[in-house]
Amino acid sequence: MTLTSFWGPMTIGNQSSISKILAGGLLGLALAACSSTPDDSMEADEAADEQAAADDEARAEAERRAAAEAAARAEAERMAAERAEAAAAELPSFPWPPPKASTVMNLNDSALRMSGHSTTLGQLDEQLGQALSGAGYVERSYFSVPDGFALVTRLEQIGPDGTPLDPPDRWSADAGPVRQFDLRTVLRALFTANPGYFRILVFVVSPHPFNQSKEMVRREEAMEWLQEGMNRLPSAVARGRYTSIFRTTVLVYEFEKSEFSDPLLISGRLTARTHLQRSGLLPSIESNAEE
């Protein structure tokens, strides 16, 4: 007799071994059926489902928490940016682009950057402030410029070579009387205009390149900068990073005034480097300057 099975035709002679296999399988199934009831199987499924649901829920909760934290971080950043903007808005704006200066120089700011550390605008301001105070510039004011600030010094009277006069003449807005009585000085005082020279320094810290406008600032306008600006840098601005894209530029506004003439902005009589050297600032704020 020949049986057709899944494995192909088998002779009836193999029937006994096949029967044994089938019998063993059936026996196994029967044993398995006897050892687990239908109720146990359902409980296991339910437990697995519950575990999976719990896992899903935990995962979702973690995602929600992460999303909430990210949202909180974004909100904090937005508020910080708003505070910075508000602080910058508090600072009066310096005329931008700046009015035509007598002379200008980009400072080599390697000395201004904290070596090995990231420098903030506040730290830069502190360093500039120390240099300025050391050279006698105790009065200064702050303005905002695009993404940075401008620091303005008080008008000072200087000699023809750029050296500040001794106080009180240094801080006088008028050229004082002649105090030397050698023949040359007396003759020059009697027969020439014998003008006084006045200077205002403006340090502009900004990541943006800028040029100068063609506007010629009058001395009285420039003198008002000291009153119009703020007395210190707002903390929100001071927290800003002084990154490598920032540059510190010094603009020198030099005026000539004789007794019978209005003060005039003069152009390029001395270089900015000479102004900084004679004022005693250059050694403090940089070792090498690029003009």
Partner: protein, 139 residues
Amino acid sequence: MPWMQCKKRLALLWFTGAGFIFLLFLVQTIGGRYGDDPELAWGWLLPTLMPTLSLMVAVFVLDALGKEGSVKNVDRFIYRLAFGLSAAYISVVLITILAGPFSEMGSSTLMTKSNLWLAPFQGLVSASLGAFFIRREPA
């Protein structure tokens, strides 16, 4: 005192003194002492000297035209008073100009303020000169 001699001395004093001051002012203006707008300085100087100079020139012209008659003498006191006041006045004007650069108030302010003392002083000088030219004794 002889009228002609006194008149010449006064003329010498005034024209020399005023001439020196004008020359000084001219050099100062050319040198730029009074800036691009020297009207203020010259506006102070001209009224300070010109009235008296004009008076003297008018008298000299009248004399030259012979309309004053023959006068030979003049009162010594009046002449000395006129000469002294004139010399002092010209000196004060010169000092005001020269002291400007060394004054705390500056030249322009000093010129303006100097009218406080120069104006009455000029009145005295003009009065004394007027008396000198009017009170002449006939020959």
